[in-house]
């Protein structure tokens, strides 16, 4: 069969690429750039307790001292002097959808958030720019003692001490430059507490929409799943495309108690002017289980490596992820896991697709410490190249410090086989559809782990990415 190339058009993101002009009348903004005065201003605006104000200022110091690593995609296009770190709609957060301002409400309506809440979610948080505008949890879930609220409210409520004991304890400002940035200017995000033994039957979701050009979003998600409890949390993100850089430097801290389980699913579809420098970390106690499901489709540059610390005997982690890098995208994704206790297990399945000049890098580390007797780790990654102008790299590191461990890693890289395309075409399917089917099948291990609506969204994204003409 001749190796005819498929020309693949850039993705049509009209579903996500709509915007509203933000007038000063409806929005409060700080100046662009990053100074102690701006950090103080954000702290005052948010009525921080004193410890939080100190944390912000200390984080800013660390940010200014820390250099960038030499290992990731270039972020030359990101100039912090041009980033507005805080943009707040002039509205109070509401638990009633009707009270949300119309333009913002329309945004989330178009993204299908309220519909999803009605159909398949136990609670929703909707963040617009720097702040949550809507937060609601089903009555029956709240009656179980589940707390799902914005971090700011939690800081001043009955869970204030719990927040103080956990906030930026897993991800500290010293970790890296953008963790420090986050510590300085964070705003928005959710706090979830699931009490002992409570199983939340249907997922909670937070959706992050960044609408303002040249703005940053720095939400902080803190989830504590107590002993024997169970939760599925879904995170979605999108933004319209602008000609200026936007920045997302959120942080996600997850604490999974003894014999508890947390599934954290992400469909990340930032616009292609976005620098997505997000940090996610989970600590798992004895017998607990952490499941990451991750689909990365958007952004101009991504640095994203959810980290799991298996801290208790028998703790487990599963990571299932797919990254789709198209034109103008450099997506550096993967995971980190630290086996810190006996009989811990990690299972990783990571896939990536590169097309149209996109660069996709899988970067990971598996560390098995000396205490982790009987640890088992299995990592599998597969990369698909859709043309010869793209790039795909695999950089997996393993550091094993005990004899009593079993660590395996395998990786494959290649392209869609001509035979598979030929087989499908011989059954009357066009080449474009055949390729799209193969790619959807390749991503199937992620989509089948998502609730139906999100799997449909992901498959639509793949379809959009694959839409093209034969040339």
């Amino acid at each position: 069969m001749s190796k005819e190339k498929t020309y693949v058009e850039d993705v049509d993101r009209s579903l996500y690429d709509f915007r509203y002009d933000e007038s000063d009348k409806d929005f409060y903004k700080v100046e662009s750039g990053l100074t102690p005065e701006i950090v103080e201003q954000i702290s005052e605006e948010k009525n921080d307790p004193e410890w939080m104000r100190e944390l912000r200022l200390k984080s800013l110091e660390i940010f200014n001292e820390k250099g960038m690593g030499q290992w990731g995609p270039p972020i030359d296009g990101l100039d912090m002097n041009n980033i507005v770190t805080y943009v707040r709609p002039k509205t109070k957060m509401s638990a009633n959808w009707e009270d949300v301002p119309k333009d913002i409400k329309d945004t989330f309506e178009r993204l299908g958030i309220p519909q999803a809440e009605r159909k398949s979610l136990a609670g929703v948080g909707a963040q617009y720019d720097s702040e949550l505008v809507y937060h609601n949890v089903r009555k029956e879930v709240a009656e179980q003692g589940v707390v799902y609220t914005d971090i700011e409210s939690a800081l001043h409520g009955p869970y204030a001490d719990m927040i103080k004991d956990h906030f930026m304890h897993l991800i500290t400002p010293h970790d890296h430059k953008f963790a420090a940035l986050h510590g300085a200017v964070w705003s928005g995000g959710s706090f979830v507490y699931v009490p002992k033994g409570v199983s939340v039957e249907i997922p909670l979701q937070s959706y992050f929409r960044l609408n303002a050009p040249g703005a940053g979003q720095f939400e902080h998600t803190l989830i504590i799943v107590d002993e024997g409890a169970d939760l599925h949390f879904i995170e979605g993100c999108s933004a319209p495309k602008y000609n200026v850089a936007n920045l997302h430097a959120g942080a996600v801290e997850l604490f999974v108690g003894k014999n508890a389980r947390l599934r954290y699913s992400t469909i990340e579809n930032w616009s292609k002017n976005m620098y997505n420098l997000n940090t996610k970390r989970a600590k798992i106690e004895e017998g607990g289980k952490m499941e990451w499901v991750s689909g990365s489709f958007g952004s101009h540059v991504s640095y994203l490596y959810p980290m799991t610390i298996l801290n208790g005997k028998g703790a487990k982690m599963e990571y299932t992820g797919i990254t789709f890098a198209g034109k103008g995208q450099n997506l550096d994704t993967g995971m980190k896991v630290v086996h810190n206790a006996p009989d811990t297990t990690s299972v990783v399945s990571a896939k990536s697709i590169s097309k149209d000049g996109g660069i996709s890098t899988y970067r990971s580390s598996v560390v098995v410490n000396n205490k982790a007797k009987g640890a088992k780790s299995s990592v599998s990654c597969a990369s698909l190249m859709l043309d010869d102008i793209s790039r795909s790299d695999t950089i997996p590191a393993m550091d094993v410090r005990t004899q009593d461990a079993d660590v395996g890693h395998e990786a494959k890289i290649g392209r869609i086989s001509d035979e598979a395309v030929f087989y499908l075409m011989s059954r009357g399917i066009s080449e474009e559809d055949a390729r799209a089917m193969i790619v959807s099948g390749f991503a199937d291990n992620v989509s089948k782990e998502l609730p139906l609506e999100y799997a449909v969204e992901m498959n639509n994204l793949i379809r959009l990415e694959m839409k093209g003409t034969i040339g």
Partner: protein, 357 residues
Amino acid sequence: MNATQEANSLVVNHLPGQTWNWLKMNDARVAVEASAVPLEAQMDVPKGLSKGQSLAPVGGGMGPDYDRWIQQNAAPQVFQTAEGQKVVQPLKLTYALNGGATGAVACQIDAKADSRLTVIMDFAGQPEGQPGTAAFSTKLHIASGAAVTLVQIHRSGAGQRILNDVGAVLEDGARFDVLHLIMDGSHTYVGCQADLKGDQSYFNADVAYLVQNEDLLDTNYVALHHGKKTESRITSAGVLRDRAQKLFRGTIDFKKGAAGSVGNEKEDVMLMDDTVVNKTIPLILCAEEDVEGNHGATIGKLDDALLFYMESRGMDADEIYEMIAKSKLEAASRLIPDQAVREDVQAYIEAHQVQKK
């Protein structure tokens, strides 16, 4: 060595695709003396092999710092085959490493078109010899259709620090096989890079090692696929015991234009003690669609089913581990294409295998 002697700190074994600094895998730092003495080899030169001109610069696995240092300290000894010449007997270079002053060796192989050559380099020392550093650089140009097999045997004794760099450029249809058998040495740094410049060129590296006591092994194997339909295979199998540390870097790098190329790498590490540190980072870098790259790694203890099977035949776990450890080196030794050297190495494995305490 004191600070004044350790005038140079070389950055070697650069990972072709950088990772997080905290993993300490991106490169290795090696302190060396500013000057070294040339190391003389006991040579067994087969008939028909001639002296040649120095090669144009060839990149090695250790990197440019090391190349510069070698250039300052050792004049290259160049061996050249004639076009179409099949050299039947191997070129044997034996280095007696007795410690003392730092020694340096630069060896170059210029394999002309369609020729065949085997080179066996033996880094031999006394088991309880005086501590010292020996630095080797072996660079090869393998012309169209030529094939070179390079065997390097590390048995320098416990006190020696060995720096061993290999670099090869392969033209169309050329083949390069390298065998690294690493049996001791206090600190061993090995770099090996093959530039598969020519279409349908082939690179195969077999690596076997035993790292024990407080010893360190730091390696960097790189296959650069430039030509079309090139193939590489990197296979590493080894054993760590006591408080040994090892870092294996293996990279298959498909450059744009390397259509139809295939690269495979595999590492299999058996850990025998709870005080070892094993680091492995196998990379695939890919800028070409029509390629196939695979890597795999297995690290840790022996498979339970295998252990059970052998225990059911009356062996205890310690015995089984010792046997498997020995078998990894023996399997690699069987690849030595010279009977006398092969038997000598097998006797060495037999005599020097430290019994588990």
